[in-house]
């Protein structure tokens, strides 16, 4: 096996006195799709946000694409160029039209020509199925459409890794599918993905490995088959039974 594209070793994170991540270790290979699940407050968001330094970890090592996350802003900038992120609340830039939301990063960070950036942005909007919305403002779109724009915005930077933090948790049921479909397509292209989600259908269909988080630690991990058919830990069993037969 080649060098993992993400290496986390014994990652700890405190919010004030509160110990939110208590020694998380994970290695992700290029092209893997990882699903992270677990109860609310277990540190899932905190963990994936440490990978692009939206949260700073205080102990342990995180190496992304061969670059170690440290206080060096150049390292942080280099990693953020290669890592895209999708947020639960979309976080589109409300003051900019959809197209500018997508082209801003490529033009400012990648230094592409405007024409090139717009061409690629339109291709991405095509891919997520909403090219006709390019000139609207985010507030004029439905939640599902906004989240698809957010995915296009992250992809426009041509990242090597995509992080998804509960991308469908704020969506109405009929919109969840349109976003998951885009993510499934993306997984098929060989993108390395870390997805925090409770959409177990998605996990079963595309995840290579799953990680169960509870109280800031990884309780159990395995392939979807192992997790769904033969969970080892009591806590995993209990949690799965809660979310699968509610």
């Amino acid at each position: 096996m080649s060098e993992p594209i993400i290496i986390c070793r014994d990652v700890h994170k405190w919010y004030g006195q509160f110990h939110a991540l208590r020694g998380v270790s994970m290695e992700v290979q290029k092209g893997e799709v990882i699903v992270i699940f677990g109860p609310s407050g277990s540190g899932k968001s905190t963990f994936i946000r440490t990978i692009n330094r939206l949260e700073e970890h205080q102990r342990g090592t995180i190496i992304v694409d061969g670059i170690e996350l440290s206080h060096d802003v150049r390292n942080i900038a280099a990693i953020r160029r290669e890592v895209g992120m999708v947020f639960p609340q979309f976080n589109l830039f409300t003051g900019l039209p959809v197209l500018h939301n997508i082209t801003l990063g490529p033009i400012q960070v990648r230094k592409w020509k405007k024409e090139k950036a717009e061409e690629i942005a339109m291709q991405l909007l095509e891919r997520v199925g909403i090219p006709e919305q390019a000139h609207k403002y985010p507030g004029q779109l439905s939640g599902g459409q906004q989240q698809r724009v957010a995915i296009a915005r992250a992809l426009a930077m041509q990242p090597k890794i995509m992080l998804f933090d509960e991308p469908t948790s704020a969506l109405d049921p009929e919109m969840i599918k349109e976003v998951l479909d885009v993510m499934v397509e993306l997984a098929k292209t060989g993108m390395t993905m870390l997805v925090v989600t409770h959409e177990m259908g998605f996990a079963r269909a595309v995840a290579d490995r799953m990680f169960f988080f509870d109280q800031g630690v990884i309780v159990e991990s395995g392939t979807p088959k192992e997790i769904f058919e033969n969970p080892k830990e009591e806590r995993t069993k209990l949690f799965l039974s809660q979310i699968l037969h509610h």
Binding site: N52, A77, R80, G84, G95, L104, V109, P138, G139
Partner: protein, 406 residues
């Protein structure tokens, strides 16, 4: 959900009902809705008629407006030499062109544009009256033509003019000061010392310079106050809180009276410039607090998304955070600018001859004893016209920029 929205086949789609008012219906609904409303309406009406008739009678019978007409040029431009008034016109021409450009680039609203193209001549006619003499109607026409030319140019080449328009706007103010002030003893743009600037011209210059320079300074202070760097933050807080703690008039006095004690005796700073600096320093502190309010209203998610796509701090602020924050506080900022414009009248108290200073000077002339009311009514009217235009313009600007819609 109602059945109408569910059954699409059978029921027709109706336009929303329009409310129709007759004049009488409107009056009954809005002025005589209840007996209490009725009484208020009648009392209010009686007062308006009483005060209105009284004022009009005074204005047309007992008031003697010659004090205004005789000194009109003085009120408008102080002692600025008549043979140099063309320079003020040049300043206006440039302004018209720059505003036209900016208009074409930034304002997308047709009806608004139509309003401005019609309204501008009226406004300029007013200004012609104000500056008076020399150019007259031909100059007015040129102002309007230049504004429309700028607008058309921007419409024709929006991409290319965008940057040019902003550059011109930034260059405009130093250039304006250069044109009005001039340099060298004689020749093409001979020096017109600032002690000759006066009247409305001086009030407007102090206000405009105050607004233009306090704006970037205030934004920087607001950002500094949010900075992670302790030293920067502390400095900004101290500055803002100190300035907000003292009245403008004390700053003006410090600038005029105390500053010379601290400077070496061979360094002389122009009095008008000292007043301008005091106004800038003062306005910046208040502006910083208003901008900070706008910054605090920006959700955390906007910062995070900007970080996540790899923007650096400067890009994040200029492309994402500041535009939203500033758009949100436009009404407050315009309110502050109107206040600043009116506050410039305080410079009269430190001996500068702005509109109010000239008014006091005119009243000190024995020929015009007892004409206080005429003079102060006139001064108030001039302030009102400008303040109201700013306030009206800002409301239209909000609509044009879609404040509150996104």
């Amino acid at each position: 959900m109602t059945s109408t929205t569910l059954t699409t086949g059978k029921q027709e789609i109706l336009p929303p009902p329009t409310e129709r008012y007759t004049v009488l219906g409107w009056i009954r609904k809005n002025l005589f809705g209840s007996w209490f409303d009725g009484i208020l309406t009648i009392v209010g009406l009686a007062f308006i008629i009483y005060a209105g008739v009284g004022s009009l009678r005074w204005a047309f019978t007992s008031a003697r407006w010659s004090v205004i007409t005789d000194n009109f040029a003085l009120f408008m431009k102080g002692q600025y030499p008549l043979e140099q008034v063309w320079r003020l016109w040049v300043g206006l021409y440039l302004l018209a062109f720059v505003v036209g450009l900016l208009w074409g680039v930034f304002v997308r609203q047709r009806s608004f544009t139509a309003w401005v193209l019609l309204g501008a001549p009226v406004l300029f006619a007013l200004i012609v009256l104000i500056i008076g003499g020399s150019g007259g109607w031909l100059s007015l026409l040129l102002v309007d033509v230049l504004a429309v030319a700028g607008w058309a140019l921007a419409r024709w080449q929006p991409q290319r003019t965008r940057r040019a328009a902003i550059t011109l706007l930034i260059l405009y103010f130093p250039l304006l000061i250069l044109i009005i002030r001039g340099f060298g003893a004689e020749g093409f743009l001979s020096l017109v010392p600032t002690n000759l600037w006066g009247g409305l011209l001086l009030s407007l210059l102090i206000a405009v310079v105050g607004i233009v320079f306090s704006f970037p300074f205030g934004v920087l202070l607001a950002l500094g106050r949010q900075s992670q760097l302790r030293a920067v933050k502390t400095l900004c807080v101290i500055y803002i809180e100190f300035i907000r703690g003292v009245p403008l008039i004390t700053l003006l006095f410090m600038g005029q009276v105390m500053l010379p004690f601290f400077l070496p005796s061979n360094v002389v700073i122009d009095r008008v410039i000292r007043a301008m600096v005091a106004v800038i320093l003062f306005a910046a502190a208040y502006l910083a607090e208003n901008v900070r309010g706008g910054l605090q209203a920006i959700p955390k998610g906007q910062y995070e998304a900007a970080d996540a796509i790899g923007l650096n701090g400067f890009q994040k602020m200029t492309y994402i955070i500041l535009p939203q924050a500033l758009r949100a506080v436009i009404p407050v900022l315009v309110g502050q600018f109107i206040g600043l414009f009116k506050d410039t009248s305080l410079v009269a108290l430190v001996g500068l001859l702005d509109l109010l200073g000239i008014a006091r000077g005119v009243l000190a002339n024995p020929n015009y004893i007892g004409r206080q009311i005429e003079v102060y009514v006139f001064v108030a009217l001039v302030y009102w016209v400008f303040s109201y235009s700013m306030s009206y313009g800002s409301r239209r600007l909000e609509v044009a920029l879609g404040v509150g819609e996104r």
